[in-house]
């Protein structure tokens, strides 16, 4: 499983408990980093993009929170937003159970996917014994 994740190609955006948020930055800053450093947007513009993404995911309220102050779901949303804003063709959610241990995560992810309206595919890597959870 881990090996499979490690060999993923470069064009994949991962959401994983192994890739934490920057602990001393707020959720918004964590997301806005990417437009700033990759697409050289100004700080204001990047913040605007990050905030609109959070709004889209329905969690604009967590913008000012830092990692230790967030619930697992909020942390997951921030990581997801960070992965989305990378704008890579594939998005892989790596073992969501490790991150979303306080919500019924298949439904939660499905809801988010409906809100996000983004291009590309979301793939979920999970342990085979959790397969039953994804049945509609």
């Amino acid at each position: 499983m881990t090996a499979a994740v490690a060999t993923l190609p470069e064009d994949v955006a991962r959401v994983s408990h192994e890739l934490p948020l920057r602990a001393n930055l707020s959720a918004l800053d964590n997301i806005a980093l990417i437009p700033i450093y990759q697409r050289h947007f100004s700080v204001d513009e990047s913040n605007r993009q990050a905030l609109s993404l959070l709004e889209q995911l329905g969690h604009a309220g967590i913008a000012a929170l830092r990692d230790p102050d967030m619930t697992p779901a909020q942390r997951f949303i921030t990581k997801l937003a960070r992965a989305i804003i990378l704008r890579r063709p594939r998005l892989i959610i790596d073992r969501p159970g490790a991150m979303l241990y306080d919500v019924p995560y298949p439904d939660f992810i499905r809801e988010l996917a409906a809100q996000a309206e983004m291009a590309g595919t979301w793939e979920i890597f999970d342990f085979s014994w959790n397969q039953a959870l994804y049945q509609e």
């Binding site: 890739l19 934490p20 602990a23 980093l33 700033i36 450093y37 990759q38």
Partner: protein
Amino acid sequence: MNFLAASIESLGAKVVGWFTVGYGMFAFLARASLLLLDRATWNRATFDVVVKQVYFTAVQILHVFLGYTLVISWLIITIILSTARDFGLTEFASEMTIRVLVLELLPFLTALFIALRSGSAINTEVALMQVNNELDALAHCKVPPMQFEFLPRLIGGVVSVVTLAGLAGLLALLMGYLAIYGMNAAGFEPYTQTIAKIFDFTIVAGLLVKCALFGLAVTLIPVTAGLETPKKLFMVPVSVLRGMMRVFFAIVAIEVVSLALKYI
């Protein structure tokens, strides 16, 4: 025989270790300096982090630092003046005060101050980032940690040490004047004369370079020490301990070399 071989081996291991550490540090410094030349580095975000670093390293502690400088300068000046009076060397007292305080002691103490306060914090933070995979996460997002995390710290350290040492030096000059001539303008001419005699171009440039090196040492070494931390939480204190030892040695080495260059 075995004992001898073992000690030679451990000596060899130590030397190799020191070389590795030294090489790592200079390679890191080289990469950082190359990035300084890169236009992409100079964006608003880096600037913001630099500002934040300067705030946490210099501005936040300014009042504490100046108070501490005041006490130290006053003590040293009093000691020098009374000793000079006892030995009948009062004419050298002002020059001695300036040389000891402004050129040597205050930059050194400033570097130690910043090392204890910010150097240790930087070391811990970088070590924790390393252990927590935060650096991997940044790498995955293609946010360069060098530009985003490390370079601003180096710049902030250099700016802070140079500025704080400069402010402390100015304060000491003022204190020295007040201690020697009291609250009047009578000593302005001779004091100016002494200052002019001491601060020639090489001395000022040397002081600036020394402070900049101090600033670099108290940030660069903690960063590299933090990056060396194995991904185990219990290694963080060990990393800080090692980093701070290296910082101390580096500061002393810089001071010794600067003294040697000046007086030999």
